[in-house]
Amino acid sequence: MRDKNRENSHNWQVTEMENTTDLRFSTEFVSILDPEESPYRDEARPPFFWDLNLDRIVERIQALWQREVASFYYYLPANGACEDYRREVFGDVKNSGAYEGLCRFVERMEEHSRLRENKEKVHLDLQKSFLHVQEAFVYCQALAALAQVLEPLKLSSQGMRAFRETLCRYLDSPEFKGLQETARELISEIGRVRLTVTYENDRITVTPGETAGAYDTFLMQCFPGQNVRMHGPFSLSADLSELEQELLGLVRKQNPEIFENAERFCRSFPDYEKEVFLRFASEIQYYLSFYGFEQEMGQQGFCFAAPRVGEDVPMEAEGLYDLALACVRASQGLKVVSNDMFYGADERFFVLTGPNQGGKTTFARSLGQLVYFAKMGLDVPARKAGLGHFGGLLTHFSVEESVETGRGKLKEELVRLAPMMRDACAGAFVVINELFTTAANYDACIMGKRVLEHFLKSGCRGIYVTHLRELSKEGHGIVSLRAMLDENGRQSFRIMRCPAEESAGAAQQAGRHGLTYEQLRERLQ
């Protein structure tokens, strides 16, 4: 035992000398979210989040993942290159077989940061040094295990490959090897310590080694199958209580080398973590959480597709649905209606009309979500989809009249619309839901046409949901869509290319309630 220790300390001398090398890793691979050195930002929720019910989706994702990931979903890629970078990484997470290994890595790193937080919380240096050893050991294990998972995989994304290279190089460095070896030895030494604590006649005695008396075995025989864990029995806080300190004083007296070794370890490896891996452990959860969510939804029959994205890819989707609605429905075991859609070569704007509660808003949302998730480099809620890069995503949904601002609804709408139209960067995707509902029909038509004109001129694509049939006149890149009713006059939630029609007749309305003459006769039979 003694000899072995001396040997260890000899090794450490070497490590301590080499410890100054190689801090260049941070220059190569930075972030799995962005190929360029971009500032790590605290983003606010983008304004379209509420309109598209994305907050509900993210809530669901976070609930499933059980860790804070929401802010990643607020961080939009700055350009098409970044979108593609993410899409490739997500492809690897999904398809390369790395998913499970990455999840384990995140768990281990979580354990690591829990230990580190613990270390910062406790007050005794003695404890800090032991926690430092344990924390370093977990860190080493996490990285080594991840490398083992990634090494044999066929990775195709630039991001994951660069990360793997960085990781493997680090693991091969003497710095890491020294750290790993010493931590491992120390941990197993600590693990071998057993002691017996006897409390009798107001005194506590500590003796090395285990005493077998096995009262707990007796209890288990009395009540077989009972799985009882002892709480405590010493203090529950991470800190050592006075009683525990007294105990450990005696333990230290009996095992002085271990305590010395732990303290030396702290001196040798004060700051061993590499920022790049900590950051990776956090950022990779963006992909993992979404994939986990995707699988969960998949089990309930909701499909996702990796979209084809490119400048000359026509915008189209099959089986497109509102993912936020699906989240709600899934929990009730229900399905949602999906729709197919495409924009022809010269088509820029959908104008969607149809009966109330006919699925118009839902369809508009699903289009917005399509653009959002594609932009985020993730899969989209559809069976199949393709689209181009968009410069931005703008939405305008009518809201309840705001009491606080005291403005009328129309004014409210215009105030919110103005910045969108002013800044409307060229090439954005625009979702507008029911503008000017409180204005007179004539005024509303004129204003609506102007808004459409404006966005068309700015080279935007989008959808405009309205009850004004006049806006749906085709031409100039405008396509008329309509929410359809089924043969019984009920909402089908299907959206078709179709000119707008006169408001639904009274007979149909009656039919919806099962109140036509025939229906009544049948019911009263």
Binding site: F130, V197, Y199, T205, T207, C222, F234, E246
Partner: protein
């Protein structure tokens, strides 16, 4: 542990009560029966010395058990057997009921409700209570086991013999020894405050605890195992006395040890450790608590029923009313001899006239005849007997045989209905309609002067339709009626074989001189109920005014 004294396979009466039990209790006057079952009659030299206050627990249990009908002959026999055992060994059931009651009372005193209501602010105190409760359970289980052993040859019913066996199994010698060992080991904790030995012996309970462990996260002790736990009788020691300090000093020189009595923090942290260890041990005993936590409640509730049966038997004996154990028969059978209306007997403290009846193969019984002739009493006596039979109790008759009707309904005219806001007929029809909603496969409907709140002609038509529809649907109907055109129509149709009636007709007996015997005799319905005189006398005159 399951008690299984009410059913052979369940402890919870999760079955439906009688539909509209309120109506049944009111129409049959069962409240008097519940209350009689809850009063102990103290006899002395063949005379009633004292009738004790009603025991609310008994009364409540009786009510809850009686209003949930048994559904099969086996179920009835299962209870009847236990009733027989209990009526023969009154002291046994008395003991069982009292022991369970005592256990619950002691538990109450230990703060059962308080600990159930609020979590617990004082965890040490609640742990001490748990130990005391455990000791209480062990004590009373031993007593109950003892009681069963004492009567082991004298009990024959499946229910009681089975329970004795189950008790021996769930609380066998091994378990008993294990629990007593644990109780002894943790005695230092539970009986800490009982500072015996201040004066003479100066001995106190102190723990001896041996733990083994390793070093875990941040040096916190980890992988802890409890190696030994016991309570020792030790001398009380003052840590600040010269002797105490000297002992401490020498002990720490000899071994790696320290005194937990020094300083401010150590004593309280040691107390915490004691708490956690006792908590750990007591948590192991959770299955024992689970097994018996509701046992005493269930036992008292179920024993109460048989305890109540003993009281009812005493009532019957007091008024000289013979009783029998009724037999289950087919739904179309109704046979009894000298059946007395027990509720009336309780109310009048007398032995009323009994009736005898011999009906088989009928789904309808129509009783007509003289007013004030005992028709309603007759109908009620059947109702009461039916309810008593269907909960396993003996019945006040020489013998009684009838079908089992878990769906028993009473539809009696209500003289004064307070909740009524529509017309009386409307209310009656409403009640009838609700009954129709709830009719089951084995239904018995007692109609007493139903549809009397309209003209005879209309009432008769309604009654005819309802009764015909019900009987055709397989429902048994016993009706007392003054709707004579209804009764006669059914009688004539039955005579000529029309409409498939299978009916019997009884009438209140009236002697030549108009005296009423309160006996029902087979008799075709007559067009007069002899109440017309009465009617003319009172109402007719009023109308003429």
């Amino acid at each position: 542990m399951n008690v299984y004294l009410l059913y052979s396979d369940k402890d919870h009466i999760n079955r439906d009560r009688y539909y509209d039990e309120k109506a049944i209790v009111q129409d049959l006057g069962l409240t008097a029966l519940f209350s009689a079952s809850a009063r102990e009659i103290v006899m002395e030299g063949g005379k009633v010395k004292q009738v004790q206050e009603a025991d609310p627990v008994l009364e409540d249990a009786m009510k809850r058990v009686m209003l949930v009908p048994l559904e099969t002959e086996q179920e009835i026999l299962y209870r009847q057997e236990i009733v027989k055992d209990c009526l023969e060994q009154e002291d046994f059931i008395r003991g069982l009921y009292e022991l369970s009651g005592e256990a619950l009372e002691c538990w109450e005193k230990l703060g059962r409700r308080a600990s159930q209501r609020t979590g617990t602010k004082d965890s040490a105190r609640s742990l001490i209570t748990e130990v005391h409760v455990m000791r209480l359970f062990v004590t009373y289980l031993k007593k109950i086991k003892e009681l069963f052993r004492e009567y082991s040859g004298k009990l024959h019913s499946e229910g009681l013999v089975g329970m004795a066996e189950r008790l021996e199994q769930a609380f066998g010698p091994e378990r008993e020894a294990g629990l007593e060992n644990i109780l002894k080991a943790v005695a230092f904790y539970a009986d800490k405050k009982e500072g015996e030995g201040y004066g003479e012996s100066r001995l106190v309970n102190k723990p001896r605890i041996v733990l083994s462990c390793g070093l875990g996260e941040g040096l916190k002790p980890d992988g802890i195992r409890l190696q030994a736990l016991e309570t020792q009788r030790k001398k009380r020691r003052d840590p600040n006395s010269t002797l105490g300090r000297a002992q401490d000093y020498f002990s720490s020189r000899i071994t790696d040890s320290f005194s937990v009595r020094k300083g401010m923090a150590l004593p309280s942290q040691t107390a915490e450790m004691e708490y956690e260890i006792v908590r750990y041990v007591i948590n192991f005993c959770q299955p024992f608590f689970d097994e018996f936590s509701s046992f005493f409640d269930r036992l008292r509730f179920q024993a109460a029923f048989y305890r109540g049966a003993v009281n009812l038997k005493h009532c019957m004996e007091r008024f000289g009313v013979p009783y029998c154990y009724p037999k289950a028969a087919g739904p179309e059978e109704l046979r009894f001899q000298d059946l007395k209306e027990f509720v009336m007997c309780l109310g009048q403290r007398a032995n009323p006239v009994g009736n005898t009846c011999e009906i088989s193969g009928s789904t309808l019984l129509v009783v007509t005849g003289a007013n004030q002739g005992g028709k309603s009493t007759f109908l009620r006596s059947i109702g009461v007997a039916q309810v008593m039979m269907q909960c396993g109790l003996p019945v006040t008759a020489l013998n009684y045989e009838s079908g089992i009707f878990p769906s028993l309904f009473t539809h009696f005219t209500r003289r004064e209905d307070s909740e009524m806001n529509s017309g009386r007929l409307d209310e009656e029809l409403g009640r009838m309609s609700r009954i129709v909603d709830h009719l089951g496969p084995a239904s018995l409907v007692l109609l007493n002067e139903s549809f009397a709140s309209t003209t005879e002609k209309e009432g008769a038509v309604i009654a005819y339709d309802v009764v015909r529809a019900l009987t055709e649907a397989g429902v048994k109907v016993l009706t007392v009626t003054h709707l004579l055109s209804f009764a006669q129509r059914v009688f004539q149709e039955a005579q000529s074989g029309e409409a498939g009636w299978r009916a019997e007709f009884l009438s209140a007996q009236r002697t030549q001189d108009g005296r009423r015997t309160y006996k029902m005799i087979p008799h075709a319905p007559e067009l007069t109920s002899f109440g017309l005189d009465l009617y003319d006398e009172i109402i007719g005159k009023d109308e003429n005014n």
